[in-house]
């Protein structure tokens, strides 16, 4: 009884698919292919005589202890930023969903951070958290040297985690809110009539029902923190101090665009691409199983 719309005219079908295929090819396969080509050659900045070197670039990447440091920092960054931004966004959404006075204003203002470009977020955070001149300097006056992202690697990492989480909260919030609002009111009212309090209803009714959204956002957030965090790092810490915030994507930018070592950067991009793909695969394979779509 399976119903399927099929095209008897293959050419027509191909014509419909062609634009999409073309887009995917131009914007994904072609650049990826180019990166792969650069990753197995040594490419001089101005082009010209590139030489086949096999896996040399990958060897250089993998034998570099600083690269593994960068992988470690990226993983910590992704995990911390994802957890923080999801938790805060879920909390905000749960409360806005309760339609407390002024919820329209909150709904609007919570989304705003996402509209800012990463470098702008970075700049704002740099000013706010600068140990001598920012708002945080007040804390340093009471507890000297408590906060100094310029010298303390963990402070610097915390700074970029805050910036990334703050930026993603708005985005996550909108999705959570939409998911919460699609839960039938009757279900929550039934819970209330059975005597469940606000927190109980959140824990046992609302959160399980928005699990698919949570899963989707987790994938998006992890991917975003791996590939889109470059702007924040570039403005706030430049990967320092002593490489404490040298995220993989920032290292790619630095080696490629500042150092003009296109081949080394290409090899690292391939590694990053595979890593993000693997992470996404793991999430779909092992976490999605536990999610029940309605």
């Amino acid at each position: 009884m399976e119903k399927r719309a099929t095209f008897s005219n293959l050419w027509l079908a191909a014509a419909f698919i062609a634009p999409q295929i073309l887009l995917v090819f131009i914007f994904f396969y072609w650049p990826s292919g180019e990166a792969l080509y650069w990753a197995v050659t040594l490419e001089p900045p101005f082009g010209g005589s590139n030489e086949w070197v096999g896996f040399l670039n990958f060897e250089t990447v993998f034998t570099d202890p600083k690269y593994w440091g960068s992988v470690r920092v990226s993983l910590i960054f992704a995990a911390a930023a994802t957890v923080i931004s999801l938790a805060i966004a879920a909390l905000l959404a749960l409360f806005v969903d309760r339609r407390l006075p002024g919820h329209q204003v909150y709904r609007f203002s919570f989304f705003l951070p996402y509209a800012l470009a990463a470098p702008a977020v970075g700049l704002a955070f740099r000013f706010i958290f600068s140990p001598d001149a920012g708002f945080v300097s007040a804390i340093n006056r009471v507890f000297p040297d408590l906060w100094n992202p310029a010298l303390d690697g963990w402070d610097a990492l915390a700074l970029i985690v805050f910036a990334q989480s703050w930026k993603m909260v708005g985005y996550n919030f909108i999705f959570f809110l939409a998911a919460l609002q699609s839960i039938p009111r009757t279900m929550i009212e039934a819970g209330a009539m059975d005597g469940a309090g606000v927190l109980r209803r959140m824990r046992d009714i609302q959160l399980p029902l928005i699990a698919p959204t949570l899963f989707f956002l987790m994938v998006i957030n992890i991917t975003d923190s791996f590939v889109d965090s470059f702007g924040i790092v570039d403005i706030t810490t430049h990967g320092g101090p002593a490489r404490a915030t040298d995220l993989m994507v920032y290292k790619i930018y630095f080696d490629g665009f500042e150092g003009k070592d296109y081949s080394l950067a290409a090899a690292q991009s391939i590694v990053l691409m595979l890593l993000v793909m693997a992470l996404t695969f793991v999430q779909f394979r092992f976490i999605e199983r536990r999610i029940h779509y309605r």
């Binding site: 040594l42 490419e43 001089p44 900045p45 101005f46 082009g47 010209g48 005589s49 030489e51 070197v53 250089t60 600083k66 740099r126 600068s130 140990p131 001598d132 001149a133 920012g134 300097s137 100094n148 992202p149 310029a150 010298l151 303390d152 690697g153 610097a156 706030t236 810490t237 990967g239 320092g240 101090p241 002593a242 490489r243 630095f254 080696d255 665009f257 500042e258 150092g259 003009k260 070592d261 081949s263 080394l264």
Partner: protein, 445 residues
């Protein structure tokens, strides 16, 4: 019939339009890396050139930073959309020398009759941009050197009216300043330009083998075996003793800001910041600039030139090159070029002619600019030797970054100074070997 008239008038309109085109100025593109106030000065320079004649037009585009100017030029070159003239910073010099994408300045001068007097350039500047055979491949435009900025009132507190001549004397001064109640005697950051490169040049210490890389792509870094290590240990000791402070934009204030607002009594930075300090200083700050302290005052060698130069790119039309030639002639001339740059920025004149012209016009007597001649003095402090000529190392941007990262590790106490610099040298040498392999078969011109 009506259609025919329409067609005829269209053709006529087209003819007029193309006729107008022929009378239009010949355009060429110039990309520059300077930003902010300095970027506006370059833009104004273009405007002045365009107003000075009616044959050519320079279309000048800021690229948002020196590094971006180089990146964008490379990307544009690969897409065959590159500009005719581009401003490239010192660290990009090697890439451009080896690129095969440029029109060497000396040859361009000959082919398009610029009549540049190459001998008039200060030797420190000419040598930096010259090939191994002494031919200059780019036109020095905005040049600087590093100097010592000091707060005269702070030094007066310890009974001194002159800047320290040696690093040892400076160390004593810092101790005395602290005792006299100066909270921060010295502001420094992790920029290798003044801390490693200028330090090594003024003390005639090698940075790399093969004459700092001028002798070929096989050079290796040696800064872990020179007095640079002790110099950094001194910095660390000063930091630990509370004499000195680290000032970067991450801390909240750069060294320039910390000096200009009187927080720190001295710093080492580019003469190009002279104007910035003048414009942003707190009222009554009594300061001056002096040549870098050195290890042995009787053996001072010249400091290095910094800043950027103008490169002519290959593969353009004869008309564009003629326009570019007129532009380069205008912006490098002593009066319309050097004097304009010196008056509007903190950069220094690059030729003896330009320097004489400025001196005659009373430029250095003006309290606003007084002191800037120190940079020239520093740049010409000695004959240019193989170690004070400059640095010609591949991927120097990454090398600077390696050293910076390791210095950060050492200054935050994660590592011993010697171990940190050893590690930086080791990693830098790997970068150099990769660069050598990327340009296998190529030789530095």
């Amino acid at each position: 019939m009506k259609r025919l008239t329409l067609l005829a008038s269209a053709v006529a309109a087209l003819a007029i339009a193309s006729g107008a085109q022929a009378q239009e100025r010949i355009k060429f593109e110039f990309w520059y890396g300077l930003t902010g106030d300095l970027g506006e000065v370059v833009q104004k320079h273009c405007q002045l050139f365009n107003e000075s004649q009616d044959k050519y037009e320079a279309v000048c585009t800021g690229q948002g930073g020196y590094d971006k100017a180089e990146q964008n030029t490379i990307a544009a070159y690969r897409a065959k959309q590159h500009p005719t003239v581009v401003q490239i910073y010192d660290a990009g010099t090697v890439n451009f020398l080896l690129s095969g994408a440029i029109y060497p300045a000396a040859k361009f001068d000959k082919d398009y009759g610029l009549n540049i007097d190459w001998k008039a350039y200060f030797p420190g500047i000419a040598n930096y941009y010259a090939t191994s055979t002494g031919e200059m491949w780019s036109f020095p435009y905005n040049s600087s050197s590093a100097v010592f900025y000091w707060n005269k009132d702070a030094w007066a507190k310890i009974g001194k009216s002159e800047a320290p001549k040696t690093w040892a004397e400076f160390g004593e001064d810092l101790k005395a300043l602290k005792a006299a109640g100066v909270e921060c005697g010295f502001a420094f950051d992790f920029d290798t330009w003044q801390n490693m490169e200028q330090f090594s040049a003024t003390n005639n210490l090698p940075i790399a083998t093969l004459d700092n890389g001028y002798g070929g792509l096989g050079a290796e870094l040696v800064v872990n075996k020179t007095a640079f290590v002790d110099h950094m240990k001194d910095y660390k000791a000063w930091l630990d003793a509370g004499y000195a402070k680290i000032q970067t934009s991450q801390v909240g204030k750069t060294i320039t800001q910390a000096f200009a607002d009187g927080t720190c009594a001295s710093t080492t930075m580019s003469i190009a910041n002279h104007g910035t300090v003048k414009n942003t200083q707190v009222a009554g700050l009594n300061w001056g600039v002096a040549m870098f302290p050195v290890i042995d005052a009787s053996k001072r060698t010249n400091s290095l030139v910094g800043g950027a130069s103008l490169w002519v790119m290959g593969g353009k039309s004869k008309e564009e090159y003629e326009a570019a030639a007129a532009f380069l002639k205008y912006v490098t001339a002593p009066d319309t070029g050097e004097k304009y740059i010196a008056e509007n920025t903190g950069y220094i004149p690059v030729t003896t002619k330009g320097f004489e012209l400025l001196k005659q016009s009373g430029f250095y007597a003006d309290p606003k600019y007084a002191g800037r001649e120190v940079a020239i003095e520093s740049l010409t402090a000695s004959e240019v030797g193989p170690l004070s000529r400059g640095i010609r190392l591949g991927n120097f941007t990454s090398i600077r970054s390696e050293i910076r990262s390791e210095l950060e590790a050492a200054f935050t106490g994660q590592k011993d100074m010697q171990a940190a610099i050893d590690a930086a040298v080791d990693r830098s040498n790997q970068i150099l070997r990769r660069y050598e392999q990327t340009y296998k078969g190529a030789a530095l011109p």
